[in-house]
Amino acid sequence: MKDWRYWLAEQRGTLLAFGIFIVMFAIYTSNHPAGFTANVVQTASNKGVLLAFVAMAQTLVVITAGIDLSIGMIFLLTNCLASWLVVGTPMQTTLGVIAVLAVGLLCGAINGAIVIYGRLQPIVATIATGAVYYGIGLLLRPFPGGSVNEDLADALTSRVFGVVPASLVVLLAVVLVIWVPFSRSVLGRAAYAAGSSETAAYMSGVPIRRGKFAAYTLAGLLAAIGGLFLTFFTYTGEAAYASGNAYTLFSIAAVVLGGVSLFGGKGSAIGAIFGALAFRTIGDLLFVFDFDPLWQPLFQGVILLVAVSLGAFALFRVRNRLEWFL
């Protein structure tokens, strides 16, 4: 087999997600009353980028065969924190942004420490830490409110050179600064290896604990970037339980759509980004076709159900029935 075939096999999920996104976005823009204009793209990207960051965060953890059910709550917490800190002079704003990112990093590190060094199951541990993060968020913002440095917010949610949405540029920068170096580093390889087969990775002398810890920690950071962006879009902080839960749920949906295996060891954050953008576009299709917004939760739920059921097609390739049971 040639090299490019291996590459293709590895990137199949990502390419599929990219394809779904392109098709969905084409349907969306062609039926949008305004058509394919910079404005429509900007609005769509601003909405999609939020989920894309959270989905990237979820990908990092899912690659290690874990799951982070507190990711939506870290997103909320950093949103509430940003509505306090990211204000004032440029200097204060910068410090505020750094503080918010540091808190996200810390939340992720706490998750990682509890799961890896505390040896608790990720599902239960992150549900519990999620309650804590939500509580802190509620403490910071019992009622929706706060403000944000509007110059920075407007700069990051407008367009660069009048064409490219700034939020997409930031997303690209985050991919280049965080995801690409991580996935190519020893730690990133260790995270993949730990998700693929922890025992084999350990036998090969891969630093699995550090790799997993780095994945959880960076997931917190990415969720915090998402939380910052939410603040830039809404100018406020709000600790809404339902919204945090929805982001956790949608991040899993985006990860599945993006071709990341929930059993770990397979997939990439790029795929999850396209999964997130596709998921958002599908949700918005309803508005283009003038459906009652009441149907949106059901529509998104059905898409989620269908998306996760698609994985069942792998069953047809099973030759030995014992492979049903992991």
Binding site: I67, I114, G118, R119, L120, Q121, I123, V124, A125, I127, A128, T129, G130, A131, V132, Y134, G135, I136, G137, L138, L139, P142, E198, Y202, Y241, A242, N245, L249, I252, A253, V256, L262, F263, L294, W295, Q296, P297, L298, F299, Q300, G301, V302, L304, L305, V308, S309, G311, A312, L315, R321, L322, W324, F325
Partner: protein, 328 residues
């Protein structure tokens, strides 16, 4: 944890304590500790009325946690609890609008709706081999969507039927709330199923190693599907009771039951990986969680503080005795 010291202490204790799971013992010890702390804060904390009231509130969680435990014993998880609870409650209330027949069938209809959600979960997990965490999240979202469409975004006008209110708040036997009796009956049935039937043994077997159970000639997929259906039905029944307790159904009524039901089962010593755990532990976990919530609300802790303490306590207790064995 060193087995020798534990064994040494346990050796001097009566037989029934020696045989008990250390996790269950820890959970009961924590209950005693909480009661002690509560009594320091307020004298009325140890009064029979207050304790009975706590038991009544605990029984709603107890019914839901029973289904959750069955699923966790399989090594799976049911994250569709919030909207199974809400769907059960809302559908039961909705059925009551259709004349006397509707009123009579309200409770079974609510439970049936929950079981349907459970069956979808079960088909996904058992036959399509989708990870339970994912498929149950998805069915949860679908159930939410259906309920939102059904109610048009508002809570339904229909209120709970008399029978639902009687089950949740009445006193069939003087002094003992009906809800507690229902929990006791469901608990007894669960203990019987888990310890005295082949279905129960199969559940433990699948939780330990589904492959081995399958090779022993068990139709493991059917057992998994039934377990999920039962879990959905019990969640819905919990929702029916809650609707009776509050006299009406609301959309977000189930949200507050997902984390507590998982926490109650896990704090009771049931392994989240499946195959190990006793119903007594789940009872302890349910009472423990209810007491913790009650103490926090008696202290008039705001919601934020409650969530924080709640999460911290669960993580702390799990670190105490819920850890996976060190690999290697």
């Amino acid at each position: 944890m060193s087995e020798t010291t534990l064994g040494g202490i346990a050796g001097r204790m009566p037989r029934f304590i020696r045989r008990a799971d250390p996790a269950v013992l820890t959970a009961f010890a924590c209950i005693v500790l909480l009661l002690f702390l509560g009594s320091l804060y307020s004298r009325s904390f140890l009064s029979p009325e207050y304790l009975l009231q706590q038991l009544k509130v605990a029984s709603f969680l107890g019914v839901i946690a029973t289904g959750m435990m069955l699923v966790i014993l399989l090594g799976q998880i049911d994250l569709s609890v919030p909207w199974s609870v809400a769907a059960g409650a809302m559908m039961a209330c909705a059925a009551a609008a259709y004349g006397p027949v509707g009123v009579a069938l309200a409770i079974p209809f609510g439970i049936l709706c929950g079981m349907l959600i459970g069956v979808v979960n079960g088909i996904g997990v058992a036959y399509l081999r989708i990870p339970s965490m994912i498929i149950t999240l998805a069915t949860n979202a679908v159930a939410q969507g259906l309920m939102v469409v059904y109610t048009g975004g508002f809570s339904p006008q229909d209120s709970a039927t008399g029978a639902m209110r009687y089950l949740a708040t009445g006193f069939g036997i003087p002094g003992v709330p009906n809800a507690v009796i229902i929990w006791a009956l469901i608990g007894a049935a669960m203990v019987f199923v888990l310890t005295r039937t082949s279905f129960g043994r199969t559940v433990y077997g699948i939780g330990n190693r589904e492959r081995a159970a399958y090779l022993s000639g068990i139709d493991t997929r059917r057992v998994v599907m039934i377990a999920f259906a039962v879990s959905g039905g019990l969640s819905a029944f919990g929702g029916v009771l809650l609707a009776g307790y509050a006299s009406k159904a609301a959309q977000s009524m189930g949200d507050a039951y997902l984390l507590p039901s998982i926490a109650a089962v896990v704090l009771g010593g049931t392994s989240i990986l499946g195959g190990r755990g006793s119903y007594l532990g789940t009872v302890a976990g349910v009472i423990l969680i209810t007491l913790l919530q009650s103490i926090l609300s008696v202290m008039q802790m705001p919601e934020a503080g409650r969530q924080i303490i709640y999460g911290v306590v669960i993580v702390a207790m799990l670190l105490l005795y819920g850890r996976a064995p060190a690999s290697r």
